[in-house]
């Protein structure tokens, strides 16, 4: 995959070592990636990102607006994206529930944007200040209808910064909304974050169409990324709609056209999963037990893995940095080779369903679920590893 990148605009890059929390790092990552528009609505535990952006906006020349609700926030981001800006918003579960309406529109109209979900314990208003990983499925299946999404999950403030940039790059290239699924713990955790010099940061710029007007098409349905879009004011008189449309953007509401559009939307992500998926693996080769984890849970799992190794158990770690598309290929490869997958997560068992599906009965799968509100006790994960090794 050959994606054109340029160095970051120094205006948005606050280079140097910082001591900041994950929420702030998300805002800094977005600014470094060239995000110059942010519409949001405050919600705990994501407001720090929001506030950081508001404070930084004037010096960077970005626009920040607090909208009347999340419905409006995500809608304004769509408008701004077609106005020519890179856009981001941040929220958590209850706000994400309101946003899914227009995340669907963004997916359908192939509008690039980044949405951060700093997860808190639910359901409903739940425990606003307590951590969870309960919105994993919602990130993909939230909007109605079939659509493939990209979701990333950072495990530290540094990774919040790094993945914010990666999220923008993926969303620009594939023209798709990208969700960053972080959580309250990572969001509020203060750690060292090193922001590199602007010329060390690779950014995918907005790919704007420049050809003749009569050949302009806002879409190309070939299941690939890298297609140009346009922005308001460039004279191409684009039309975008949430209706099933042709490559010109005009509504064509037929079963045949729906097949063309949906196939493209799915294939552009699922068909390029090899290029998109990023995993952090440790001692998988020859492992009897593989702990599949992500986000804050993967940092808890480290302790359990270390203890298990001391006990002589061959344990590997597979940390999913990319949640969606799911690392289907890798799990299928490992299925049958390892005795057991242990899947700890701060929910009642969500990603474990994907692991089970791909393990296809060839390896045992143990779910270490937790209803959220706190992180796992490493002992519980260790116990599951021991059980999986039997």
């Amino acid at each position: 995959m050959n994606i054109k990148t340029v160095p970051a605009d120094p205006k948005g890059v606050d280079s140097g070592p910082h001591f900041m929390d994950g929420d702030h790092a998300l805002a800094e990552g977005a600014l470094a990636a060239g995000c110059r528009f942010f519409a949001g609505y405050p919600i705990t535990p994501s407001t720090e990102t929001f506030e950081r952006f508001a404070e930084r906006a004037p010096e960077v020349g970005a626009m920040f607006i607090q909208m009347e609700d999340e419905l409006a926030a995500i809608a304004a981001n769509i408008g701004a994206a077609w106005g020519g800006q890179k856009v981001m918003t941040v929220t958590c579960g209850p706000g994400f529930s309101l946003m899914v309406e227009n995340i669907g529109l963004a997916a359908m109209t192939e509008t690039p944007m980044v949405i951060c979900n700093v997860q808190r314990a639910g359901p409903s208003t739940g425990a606003p200040t307590l951590t969870a990983q309960q919105d994993m499925m919602q990130a993909k299946y939230g909007p109605h209808g079939d659509n493939a999404m990209i979701a990333l999950s950072p495990d530290s403030p540094q990774e919040c910064f790094d993945l914010a940039i990666e999220a923008f790059n993926l969303s620009e290239y594939y023209r798709v909304p990208v969700v960053i699924l972080t959580d309250e713990t990572v969001g509020h955790m203060h750690e060292k974050v090193v922001i590199p010099a602007a010329d060390q940061i690779k950014v995918v710029p907005r790919n704007l169409y420049t050809g003749p007007k009569e050949d302009f098409r806002p879409y190309k349905f070939d299941g690939k990324g890298g297609h140009p879009m346009t922005r308001a004011g460039d004279g191409y008189h684009f039309h975008v709609t949430g209706l099933t449309h042709n490559e010109k953007g005009y509504p064509v509401v037929t079963a045949d056209q729906n097949k063309i559009v949906v196939t493209h939307l799915m294939e552009k992500i699922n068909g390029n999963a090899d290029d998109i998926v990023r995993l952090d693996e440790d001692q998988i080769e020859g492992a009897d037990v593989v702990v599949v984890s992500y986000g804050i849970t993967s940092r808890i799992a480290v302790k359990a893995i270390q203890d298990a190794r001391k006990e002589g158990i061959k344990v590997g770690s597979l940390r999913m940095i990319t949640i969606w598309p799911f690392c289907e290929k890798r799990i299928r490869e490992l299925a049958g080779k390892v005795k057991t997958f242990v899947v700890p997560e701060l929910n009642y068992g969500q990603m474990v369903l994907e692991v089970e599906r791909c393990a296809g009965g060839k390896s045992k799968v143990i779910s270490v679920n937790h209803c959220g509100g706190a992180v796992h006790d490493p002992e519980v994960i260790l116990e599951a590893i021991r059980k999986g090794n039997k």
């Binding site: 528009f37 519409a39 701004a80 106005g83 309406e101 308001a232 004011g233």
Partner: protein, 401 residues
């Protein structure tokens, strides 16, 4: 034949403002949206705005389809979200003139919150609201503006809710330009849209419009022409009217005119003012530096003036050849309207028969379906209104004079 149509589309005066490759449109015969879009296209031409710098955003519904037919940058959004999308577009790209064209259900029902907040912020957008008292696309349900007692598919016994008075709502929320017209008042509408396009701030134009297929049919109010005639009779022109008195009762008078036109810093101007005050000279105005902005505004003004002059010259030329038919004045349509009414009343001698026929029809239907007494009464009243309307034409005309 098809090449003839292609040529016709190419030669159309609307070519360049409407997407002729998307014609014909989906709107019903007699619907007001078509003439509104025509008025909008005409206003855009006259305003001298660069068509490349104009974007139209619509929501969902019959009026929501407008974005798909205008030949500008256009977005057809989800239900109710046209205003926030327009807000984002405007803020991301302040050089654009952004117009929201949608229906009253979309803008003030599901999108009501966005409507009042955009007005409150004095967001620099033009909101054109087609108010036909009905959710047309879904089959004629009651909307936030359906007059009390009007029949809709979800208020089969007549609407018992209290409707919004949209100019009052916009006024209370802080809109800086508010006008109301009916889809019959094309010239005033063109003028009003042109005015809104050439000013800054949140501009709201409500257009009372007939939904022939659903609202008129269900309420037995005749067809599109009857509706236009009704607008002519019941519209009361009152510039600067108190928006609190702009309520619309079922088949009652419709106050039209420009109600509010005031200056207030727009959202971006207010932001800049605030930041300049606090941050001082270090603050760069949003989107551009001061000299850049001034130069741009000056150049844009000159461009607009040149284009407007060209359009006006053409108009004049046309007017001369047509013996002054196209003279534009706000007062003219009202006067000529009154004249037309006289001739029409004189010509139509037997409107009573139609009314009678409707009454009998209603009775038969009411009996056969064994409806409740209330629905019978309702239907009768509706029919009576038709009769009343045709009888009471002359006094209505008198009061206007």
């Amino acid at each position: 034949m098809s090449s003839d149509i292609a040529q016709f589309k190419k030669d159309s005066p609307m070519s360049g403002t409407l997407r002729m490759d998307r014609m014909s449109h989906i709107w019903c015969p007699g619907c007001g949206i078509g003439s509104e879009v025509n008025a909008f296209a005409e206003a855009v031409k006259r305003s001298g705005i660069d068509p490349d710098k104009l974007a139209v955003v619509s929501g969902i519904g019959c009026t929501g389809r407008v974005a798909g037919y205008v030949d500008f940058d256009s977005i057809h959004t989800t239900h109710g979200r046209a205003i926030p999308v327009a807000t984002g577009l405007k803020l991301a790209n302040p050089n654009m003139k952004v117009v929201v064209f949608s229906g009253e259900g979309d803008l003030t029902g599901i999108g009501g919150n966005h409507f009042i907040h955009a007005a409150r912020r004095n967001m620099d957008i033009v909101v054109i609201c087609n108010n036909n008292f009905t959710y047309g696309m879904t089959g004629g349900q009651v909307t936030p503006t359906t007059p009390h007692s009007a029949i809709s598919s979800t208020t089969p016994f007549g609407n018992h809710e209290y409707p919004f008075n949209l100019p009052f709502l916009a006024d209370a929320a802080g809109a800086t330009y508010i006008a109301r017209w009916t889809s019959m008042h094309s010239r005033n509408l063109i003028q009003s849209i042109e005015e809104a396009l050439s000013r800054k701030g949140f501009s709201f134009i409500e257009i009372i419009s007939p939904c022939t297929t659903l609202y008129l049919r269900r309420n037995r109010l005749g067809d599109g022409v009857d509706a236009l005639q009704f607008y002519q009779e019941s519209a009361v022109l009152k510039h600067g009217a108190d928006t609190r008195e702009a309520d619309i009762d079922f088949q009652g008078k419709i106050v039209i005119g420009k109600f509010v036109d005031k200056n207030k810093p727009t959202y971006i101007e207010a932001l800049d003012n605030r930041c300049v005050k606090v941050v001082g000279d270090d603050y760069e105005l949003y989107g551009k530096t001061v000299p850049e902005r001034e130069a741009e505004e000056k150049a844009e003004k000159e461009r607009v003036a040149a284009r407007r002059a060209a359009v006006m010259a053409e108009e004049e030329k046309k007017a001369k050849s047509e013996k002054g038919v196209t003279k534009i004045s706000a007062k003219i349509p009202v006067k000529s309207a009154a004249k037309k009414t006289t001739t029409k009343v004189a010509k139509k001698v037997a409107p009573k028969t139609t009314a009678k026929a409707t009454v009998t029809k209603v009775k038969v239907k009411a009996k056969s379906t064994a409806k409740t007494a209330t629905s019978k009464v309702k239907a009768k009243t509706a029919a009576k209104t038709v009769a009343k309307k045709s009888v009471a034409k002359t006094p209505a005309k008198k009061t206007r004079k």
